[in-house]
């Protein structure tokens, strides 16, 4: 009896200690180095990828670890950009926090406000990262108040993917994808009537980035104060005429049965297009690698064109999407340097070229393009050059620089909610956008109050 009792008390004491141990992490300054069994500094790198991209990252990290001395990079996927950002915020300031984390450009402003990160400009005292070696458009988007926030890595533009075989069948020129809205509608009419192969004409991922891009193409920024880049934005531009046009266009595609509605994000249109259920789809150029593989397997011919304009006027360009890599706050000088060294390697000309070939993401390092040219990559895969070409032709204005505000996630939610009301709730575009505008403005003002 007594022995049982003593054992019980011991177990209890142990459990109390464990609980205390768990909660003592608290706000560590994080200034210590984590070492592995060999005494190498460990750098944790969190990203948002699955599938093919995840494999590429794992292989790249293994390659780096094999050649690097005194450092071990451990890559970990947090499923998607949203979960990734949440995970970093929750881990910030504890021992579980990573040293490097990918942050989608939508969260640039929120990341700065969170205090969980340091900018590259502030942290890179040794000049390991050379901002001028990266594509200007990407650096421009990631620079806030004159500081480079993070290292460019996985950036993309929206493009139009289409099935050349179906274009031929429908009597359309397979080398001339639709560039304006009237052309797009004409192509849809022909494709759906004549080909009879695809059930629908065009897929659009359920994502606010496409609304943003259709607006940017008409040179209308989503937020005031130059899309939040010349000062804190105070209101959205969802009450603009262009926003209405974009919504009405989308609705028209739906009403004509050209566009299959789904709120499944990127996966659904990706699947519809690779199964020939749509003849075209807009998506990120980062899907080029995936579609290329799927089309080769099915012996179909993939075409890639510029992202079509929302009006009869040609678009002035597109905004960048994707995610850069940020350095978290509170790292020791040694760990910080190890993390920066890895980033410099990951975005070196060679690795940037490899990343581009595997996925379609922009070769962010300026010298990567030369490597790709010398390998004859673009000659063999002209489609991959389309997004790069589109980016080069983009007129840089506040609209094409993309929105910057910590309330952007909420503004984006308001946009998609309004779009759903227009498409399946039969709410007039003007009314839905008016509520979205009000919701966005109050979100923006709320976030402006939080310093």
């Amino acid at each position: 009896m007594k022995r049982v009792l003593r054992a019980g008390v011991a177990a209890l004491a142990a459990s109390v200690v464990t609980v205390a141990g768990c909660s003592s992490d608290g706000d560590d300054d994080g200034g210590t180095d984590e070492l592995n069994a060999n005494g190498d500094i460990v750098v944790h790198f969190w990203h948002g990828y699955g599938g093919q991209r995840l494999e590429w990252v794992n292989q790249a990290v293994a390659k780096y670890n094999a050649q690097a001395k005194g450092v071990e990079v451990r890559a970990e996927s947090k499923t998607d950009y949203d979960k990734l950002f949440d995970a970093v915020l929750l881990a910030a300031g504890t021992k579980a926090a990573p040293e490097l984390a990918q942050v989608v450009v939508t969260y640039t402003s929120a990341a700065l406000k969170s205090g969980a990160f340091t900018t590259i400009s502030d942290a890179d005292t040794e000049k390991t990262i050379d901002p001028s070696s990266y594509m200007d458009a990407v650096v421009g988007q990631l620079t806030v108040d004159g500081k480079l926030t993070s290292v460019p890595w996985a950036h993309s533009g929206p493009v139009l993917f289409y099935d050349k075989g179906l274009f031929r069948k429908a009597g359309l020129d397979p080398e001339k994808p639709p560039a304006t809205w009237p052309e797009l509608l004409a192509a849809c009419e022909a494709l759906v009537k004549v080909s009879k192969v695809s059930e629908y004409c065009i897929g659009i991922p359920w994502h606010p980035w496409f609304v943003e891009n259709w607006m940017a193409g008409q040179d209308v920024p989503l937020l005031d104060h130059d899309n939040g880049r010349s000062g804190d934005a105070e209101r959205a531009a969802l009450d603009s005429e262009v926003a209405q046009t974009v919504f009405q266009n989308w609705k028209q595609l739906y009403d004509e049965h050209y566009y299959p509605y789904s709120t499944e994000g990127y996966d659904f249109p990706r699947q519809m297009f690779s199964e020939s259920k749509t003849a075209m789809t807009v998506s990120s150029i980062a899907d080029a690698g995936y579609f290329q593989g799927a089309f080769a397997e099915q012996k179909r011919e993939l075409g890639i064109g510029f992202f079509p304009s929302a009006s009869e006027k040609p678009a002035i360009g597109t905004t960048l999407g994707g995610a850069s890599v940020w350095l978290t706050a509170g790292l020791s000088p040694k760990t910080k340097q190890a993390a920066l060294d890895f980033l410099a390697w990951l975005t070196s000309p060679e690795m940037a070229a490899e990343w581009h070939k595997a996925t379609g993401y922009f070769p962010v390092n300026k010298k990567a393009e030369a490597i790709l040219q010398s390998e004859g990559w673009f000659e063999k895969n002209p489609a991959f050059y389309v997004a790069l070409d589109q980016l080069k032709e983009t007129k840089v204005t506040p609209a094409t620089s993309g929105p910057l505000h910590s309330a952007m996630p909420e503004v984006n939610d308001a946009i998609m909610k309004a779009l759903e009301q227009v498409l399946i709730g039969n709410v007039p575009a003007a009314d839905a956008l008016k509520s979205a505008q009000e919701a966005s403005n109050s979100s923006i003002l709320r976030m402006n109050k939080i310093k």
Partner: protein, 345 residues
């Protein structure tokens, strides 16, 4: 509810008898019983009073707390602390998952009572109410039919109870497949009759599917309890009604249903909590609250506000409101039915 009721009575009587047995035996009993403070405290106090040895007194005084501590630590960490924190956060505008707080007083609660958020409350009340009524009503009907002396009752009962073995998420996926407009079995059959409803893009249809799935999910559970209750129904009142010339319906309505009322009360409480809280998995798997928020019940709205829209403060306020609402409904129900619930002989 006969089986549980009698079990509860047994445990109560055993607790009483424990209190009156000698000290050593009491302590022995207490050792094996970590989870029930009510049963432990009384005998222990007696132990302290009657024991002169200091070691024993210390043991007697500390032991219950020591034994309770692990449970208390777990409950406090995972239940009380989060609850207190939720209450605290409901008065703040919480940005960036708690990294930035701004005190806003009752603003979050005020925001819950604007038209758009109020519609969630109304929708929750209507859908949950329908689920509870239909799940209990259908199970009662089925149990009554199963209680008839027909061949194969056991097999029917087994098959009907089956949904109980499924997790809500699995059931959600099943309904999602069944009602898929392109390849779902339901539409394959309906297409024969020339209709092809888009279940998950029309608000009213999505709500209907959600209600059906939730009712189906709870049906098996309710049936288990009603079946057991039917088997334990006292025969005398029914016989008496028969002798008095009551029709089968009258006997069911005026004798059987009142006799079943303890089970009904119990099921009402569990079904209400199911419809309020456990509907989350079903909504998340099937509709994600859409189309047009038509299947967004409060529990899902809390989730969306907290984790999708990152309005942690607003979500905290909503969670508090929900907590109060559920407690109020159950208290009201207990009070209303106290006089009308019959616990049989």
């Amino acid at each position: 509810m006969q089986p549980q009721q009698s079990a509860a009575r047994d445990s109560r009587s055993s607790a009483v008898s424990v209190a009156s047995v000698p000290v050593a035996a009491t302590r022995g009993h207490g050792n094996g019983d970590h989870g029930n403070p009510g049963r432990l405290r009384r005998p222990v106090r007696r132990a302290r009073a009657s024991s002169g040895r200091p070691g024993a007194a210390l043991n007697g005084r500390l032991l219950p707390y020591l034994l309770l501590a692990p449970t208390m630590v777990v409950i406090a960490t995972f239940l009380y602390y989060p609850m207190a924190r939720t209450a605290y956060l409901s008065f703040f505008d919480v940005a960036l998952l708690g990294r930035r707080l701004r005190f806003v007083g009752f603003d979050n609660f005020r925001e819950l009572f604007v038209a758009e958020n109020l519609s969630v409350v109304v929708r929750t009340a209507v859908i949950s109410g329908l689920v509870v009524v239909l799940a209990i009503g259908s199970a009662l009907g089925a149990a009554a039919l199963l209680n008839m002396k027909i061949r194969g009752t056991r097999i029917y009962r087994l098959l009907l109870i089956w949904p109980l073995a499924l997790s809500t998420a699995v059931a959600g996926v099943m309904f999602l497949m069944l009602f898929n407009p392109t390849f779902g079995s339901v539409n394959v059959v309906l297409r024969v009759f020339g209709v092809n409803p888009q279940w998950f893009t029309k608000p009213i249809l999505a709500q209907a599917v959600l209600i059906l799935a939730l009712v189906w999910m709870k049906f098996g559970y309710n049936l288990v309890f009603y079946s057991a209750a039917f088997q334990n129904l006292p025969q005398e009142p029914l016989d008496a009604a028969l002798v008095d010339g009551a029709s089968p319906w009258q006997r069911f309505r005026h004798v059987t249903v009142p006799l079943l009322s303890p089970v009904t009360l119990f099921l009402f409480v569990t079904n209400t909590s199911f419809a309020f809280f456990d509907s989350f998995a079903m909504i998340h798997v099937m509709t994600r609250g859409g189309p047009l928020d038509s299947t967004t019940l409060m529990i899902y709205d809390v989730y969306q506000n907290a984790f999708q829209f990152r309005r942690t403060g607003l979500a905290a306020a909503e969670a508090m409101l929900m907590f109060v609402a559920v407690v109020a409904i159950i208290l009201l129900q207990l009070r209303l039915t106290r006089r009308r619930v019959h616990y049989g002989s």
